[in-house]
Symmetry: C2
Subunit: 219 residues, 2 copies
DNA sequence: TAGATTGTTAATCGATTAACAATC
DNA sequence: TAGATTGTTAATCGATTAACAATC
């Protein structure tokens, strides 16, 4: 059980969550059947790409009919590993750490938060959604004892690599990193980055470019 | 002035912030000169790709020498529009909105925050870094009066499209969207999304896939 | 000058799109 | 059965990598 999709390209994988989201929206609207053509109109990928993408994981559709929305939603959820529960900790209990702890999607899709960690004495001992904020020095023993699988780094840049080292030493399998740097980890640990500033800079680039274009046109 | 880079592919553009970040690190370490080969080793792109990317915007290097780190850093900053000041507002003054308001990179690279907006009476009237939290009903007039260019959406999914409509009606040129949906805006407005759950789901996928692979190997 | 390294063209690789036979 | 739409192969497009002449 659990097929091996190692041959699927990351380009395809990065589109999966979007399919999952749109299928959920359709279900909420009580749409139970959809063709690649209709889905294409909603989601903005070509119908051809949608069929190619889905076929990487199996034949979920039916000729002449299309796709069963509920089935496809559930299958993609399984492929994404959302049927499992992952044990997590958040390091850095400031605004960002708290935002994630309270993020509805985070709670809803099987990510169980066991604790938050911070170095600020004012935060240590507090609770977020009934979950304790512990002293950051306790990370390693806590992760080992509770068999934490995912560490979420919401600390400043300066301490992020040190935290990553502690997390991987203690046995986490994956890191969700919000600090603006590329952390180094052993080969068997998976890192997924959210680089907020990169996203912001791209917005800045596009705005700046558009202005330049309009200025050029005005002449 | 301000050259036209419309022919540059988004694949290249999305790498620019990473160059910018690594060049900053080099400058901080007082490295003033670097070849594409050395940069390749640090950043993980091929040397060939680095030279191709940079040449989309001009010949910043010098044969036999490499690139001047400071010059290249400044040039990429300009290309990204970081030499300008953008006027911004944040809608949704919860943890996420506050996290962004306090994000060092945000403040440092020319994004000036004029106000936060929320519907929660407990938050309205408070201040974050000396910046007021206003009633969300005041958005449109505030954006018009202060000529706000960027709106940052940190609200729940349910109200995000409505907020986006108000922002674009009032004249913002770009939206940085953190709500987990694809908002619809007029053609001339630029949207950059940060879909946290998509990032998290990809981490989940990769962990799940790795487990399946290891389980298969054990047999 | 000799060595190093860019800028740039050409070759390769991978991802997207088009087309259509299979089939519900 | 006829119509619709998938699954899948083949064609196209774009992005990455390799190679090397230009030149500092």
């Amino acid at each position: 059980m659990g097929r091996d999709f190692t041959d699927v390209s990351m380009a395809v994988v990065r589109r999966l969550p979007k399919y999952h989201r749109y299928l959920k929206d359709l279900l909420d609207k009580e749409v139970y059947r959809i063709s690649s053509r209709e889905l294409s109109r909603l989601i903005g990928f070509t119908a051809s790409q949608i069929r190619q993408d889905l076929n990487c994981f199996g034949g979920f559709g039916q000729q002449g009919y299309g796709y069963n929305v509920e089935e496809l939603y559930n299958e993609i959820g399984k492929i994404l590993g959302l049927n499992k529960i992952y044990s997590t900790v958040i390091i850095g209990a400031g605004n960002l750490g708290q935002a994630i702890a309270n993020y509805p999607h985070f709670v809803k899709y099987g990510f169980k938060l066991y604790g938050l960690f911070d170095s600020n004495p004012k935060l240590i001992g507090m609770k977020i959604r009934d979950i304790n904020i512990y002293d950051v020095d306790a990370i390693e023993s806590f992760v080992e004892k509770n068999q934490i699988e995912i560490g979420i780094i919401c600390t400043p840049k300066e301490v992020a690599q040190d935290i990553a080292d502690k997390l991987t030493n203690a046995g986490v399998k994956g890191i969700w990193n919000f600090a603006p740097l590329d952390i180094k980890v052993p080969d068997d640990v998976i890192v997924e980055n959210v680089h907020l500033s990169e996203s912001l800079f791209i917005l800045s680039y596009l705005l700046h470019e558009k202005e330049a274009l309009e200025a050029a046109k005005r002449k």
